[in-house]
């Protein structure tokens, strides 16, 4: 073994020591992003390794696989690049989800691919993230793919970014290289709508571990926290919560048993706001008014339930409610419409053309739809709009006018991630074509269509 392998000591906790159970209510969901080979998977592997989240048999497997490949040091990216094709090609193809905890926080980590061909998988990993670690290779700086990912992150509303200037070892830990990249990126992020204080830059070496978990002595000019220290302490941004109670109905629970002859409950996950017994609600799209008789859960009745909770709502009146309907607070209702502006992130090889037949799944309702107009294509490199494109191609972001066969109760994505998002499906084979967002939740795109 070389010196380097010795620094990767195996995690072997002394038996008999007290183990602090990593149990928190404090959870951060994060995703990696950045161009191919910038070191995302290596960084994730390093983070897992240095926080002792890698178990001995997993680490053994990585040692063995690295040796098989003739490497003198273990390749920590093999901890996450779990598919055969990924290991053969040395790239990430699909998202890997990893779960780890430190004394301060629990993390759900999505390691996403950098290759442009797999951007759809990056979008998958980022769609639920509260923070993204965007990597840049210090030798290469901000690349086309870095800007594409930054645009996707801004569009999806990922509230916080960390710019990790990686491979700092390859530029002799040079402060000016770091400063140059940081300045260029911060300005770009600002143009995308990010406030400066929500973009933090850290110089790291994923390969050697500098500033990943421990602060490095080789970057004395850097006075900020290590990446992990930042991840442990950054405030977790909640989803936007500007709208009151919303719940798409998933399923109608009617036991029809002798014990529950008349029970009729509407099962769903609270998508926004809070629902309480006695609340006045409206069932959309029909617009029927009623009152919440009871908020039921699998553990019994509760006075109220907040966003994220799976519940069963019982209403006072005997109204007709089915899967696909949305129960909402009466005082502040979403717009019910069969025509609206939306932003699409197109994820299919087959381009979107105007008037093509589509399906839209919004909440629990799937309806036929058509993009009657492609208004603007977003140039994610120049952060400008291109008017009336002929089509929207793979990985392109664009503003469209959508018409649906039935009315949908929609909120703006900027106000509510859950009720402002939808997916676009291909009616011919059911595949997923696009991520859809109601409105134009991307500052430079919104500005460019303002005329």
């Amino acid at each position: 073994m070389t010196d380097d392998t010795e620094t990767l000591t195996r995690f072997a906790p002394d038996s008999g020591t007290e183990v602090a159970l990593p149990v928190h209510t404090d959870l951060l969901r994060l995703a990696t992003a950045g161009s191919v080979d910038d070191g995302k998977s290596t960084l994730v592997g390093r983070l897992l390794h240095d926080t002792k989240s890698v178990l001995a048999d997993q680490l053994d497997a990585v040692h063995r696989a690295s040796a098989d490949r003739g490497l003198s040091t273990p390749d920590l990216s093999l901890l996450v690049d779990g598919l055969r094709a990924e290991r053969e090609q040395g790239i990430t193809i699909d998202v890997a989800y990893r779960y780890f905890a430190t004394a301060k926080r629990t993390f759900v980590l999505a390691d996403t691919p950098g290759h442009v061909q797999y951007t759809r998988n990056t979008v998958t990993g980022a769609s639920t993230a509260q923070l993204a670690v965007l990597l840049v290779d210090a030798r290469k700086g901000v690349l086309e793919q870095t800007r594409r990912h930054a645009a996707v992150l801004a569009l999806l509303g990922v509230p916080r970014l960390v710019l990790a200037v990686n491979k700092i070892d390859m530029v002799d830990f040079d402060e000016s290289v770091h400063a140059g990249i940081a300045a260029e990126f911060t300005e770009h992020a600002r143009a995308l709508g990010y406030a400066d204080e929500h973009v933090v830059t850290v110089p790291v070496s994923a390969l050697h571990g500098d500033n990943v978990v421990e602060r490095s002595e080789r970057t004395p000019w850097y006075t900020g926290p290590s990446l992990l220290e930042h991840l442990e302490t950054v405030p977790v941004a909640p989803d936007p919560h500007d709208v009151p109670f919303r719940m798409p109905v998933q399923y109608v629970i009617r036991p029809r048993t002798t014990e529950y002859p008349d029970y009729r409950g509407y099962a769903g996950q609270v998508a926004a706001g809070v629902v309480s017994e006695g609340d006045e609600v409206v069932v959309l799209p029909a617009g029927i008014r009623s009152r919440v008789a009871k908020v039921d859960t699998p553990d019994g009745q509760v006075p109220s339930a907040a966003a994220g909770r799976s519940v069963t709502v019982l209403l006072e009146d005997d109204v007709d409610v089915a899967r696909g309907d949305v129960i909402v607070a009466a005082e502040n209702q979403p717009r019910v419409t069969d025509e609206f502006d939306a932003t699409l992130c197109w994820l299919a090889e087959k381009p979107l053309t105007p008037r093509a037949r589509l399906l839209v799944k919004h909440g629990t309702r799937t309806v036929q739809a058509m993009a009657t107009e492609l208004t603007t294509r977003f140039d994610e490199q120049e952060l400008s709009g291109v008017d009336s494109p002929e089509q929207l191609e793979l990985n392109e972001i664009g503003r469209v006018r959508l018409r649906t066969s039935e009315s949908l109760p929609v909120d703006e994505y900027a106000d509510s991630r859950r009720t402002g998002s939808f997916i676009v499906l291909d009616p011919s084979d059911g595949s997923t074509l696009a991520a859809g967002l109601v409105g134009v939740p991307l500052a430079p795109l919104a500005a460019s269509v303002n005329h």
């Binding site: 183990v19 159970l21 404090d26 995308l192 029809r256 706001g273 919104a446």
Partner: protein, 320 residues
């Protein structure tokens, strides 16, 4: 709208979320439970003939517990499917049958033994039947026209599983193509499939082994007894403690000893090992899992040690 007004709508990124009033955070287990229940209900709403894979093991017991909660006070609207290797632990089978009758469920059993008896499958030289489960599973899915199959797989179990979607589409040969997975955005699951295709659905995707045990503790879920420490006659093979059963016993030179052990996973008895353990209660198990330096599969499953991509290869063919 003015530019300012439009920019205003997009201020979410720059507004400091810490200062605005946030909805109360739910406990991690509550969030995982709500997510799993949401997944069960989506499938019930979008598919015609779902089924729950159920072996009587810990993950499938937790899966069933969540299904019961998702539709309460109505019964679970799906049957169960067990792919029986014939290499079962007696107490797990008994536990399986007891749960089925307690909750008045319907159980479909596909037997690997039947396939061996009539020559459609041949016993492997190593006697292991886990890889033989794929064909009986796929046939049962086809014959019963199941269009959604719930599995207890978790992403933390294995590197290939870490890559799988919650809704994982299988083609008409039951195969998984990891290079062509659909994007899975937010919590909007795409249940569309063509005739002959089916969906594998994993409600426990985001749970870790420790989450499962903490949930078992919190919900007081009863498990097959072999998950807790007990005395058992075992012999050592490939660094694992195996036990005798219908699958055979010790080979020459393998000495039988009595030890206090428990199982971390339960599968084909010929390749599922026990671990030495003094964990008699769920609290003991949680302490043990938290301190363990081996993954549950690494510790106890010979079938996953075979090659770097053993799990991926089996999944591609249509395995769980």
């Amino acid at each position: 709208m003015t530019t300012e007004a439009i920019m205003d709508q997009n201020l979410d990124l720059s507004e400091d979320p810490a200062t605005s009033e946030a909805p109360p955070q739910v406990d991690n287990l509550d969030a995982l439970e709500s997510e799993a229940i949401h997944i069960f209900r989506e499938v019930a709403g979008e598919f015609d003939r779902p089924v729950i894979l159920f072996s009587g093991g810990k993950d499938s017991t937790v899966l069933l517990h969540l299904a019961l909660k998702a539709f309460r006070p109505a019964p679970v609207p799906f049957p169960l499917l067990h792919v029986d290797t014939g290499h079962n632990f007696e107490e797990v089978l008994r536990f399986r049958d007891e749960l089925v009758s307690r909750h008045d469920l319907r159980l479909v059993v596909a037997r690997v033994q039947d396939w061996i008896d009539d020559g459609r499958l041949t016993e492997r030289p190593d006697g292991t039947r886990n890889p033989l489960q794929t064909q009986p599973l796929l046939e049962a899915i086809e014959q019963n026209r199941f269009d959604a199959v719930f599995g207890g797989g978790r992403r933390d179990e294995e590197r290939a599983r870490a890559k799988e979607r919650v809704f994982s589409l299988r083609d008409s040969f039951g195969q998984w193509d990891p290079r062509r997975q659909r994007p899975e955005l937010w919590n909007l699951y795409n249940g569309k499939h063509r005739a002959g295709e089916h969906m594998r659905v994993f409600p426990l995707s985001n749970w870790t082994e420790l989450d499962v045990w903490r949930y078992i503790q919190r919900e007081k879920i009863e498990l097959a007894s072999l998950y807790y420490a007990h005395r058992r006659e075992v012999f050592e093979r490939d660094g694992m403690w195996l036990t005798s059963g219908p699958w055979g016993g010790p080979r020459e030179g393998e000495e039988v000893v009595e030890k206090t052990v428990r199982y971390r996973t339960v599968g084909d008895g010929s390749c599922t090992g026990a671990v030495e353990s003094e964990a008699y209660t769920v609290d003991d198990v949680i302490a043990e899992v938290a301190a363990s330096h081996l993954t549950e599969r690494g510790a106890t499953r010979a079938d996953d040690r075979m090659s770097e991509a053993a799990m991926e290869d089996r999944k591609r063919e249509g395995y769980f």
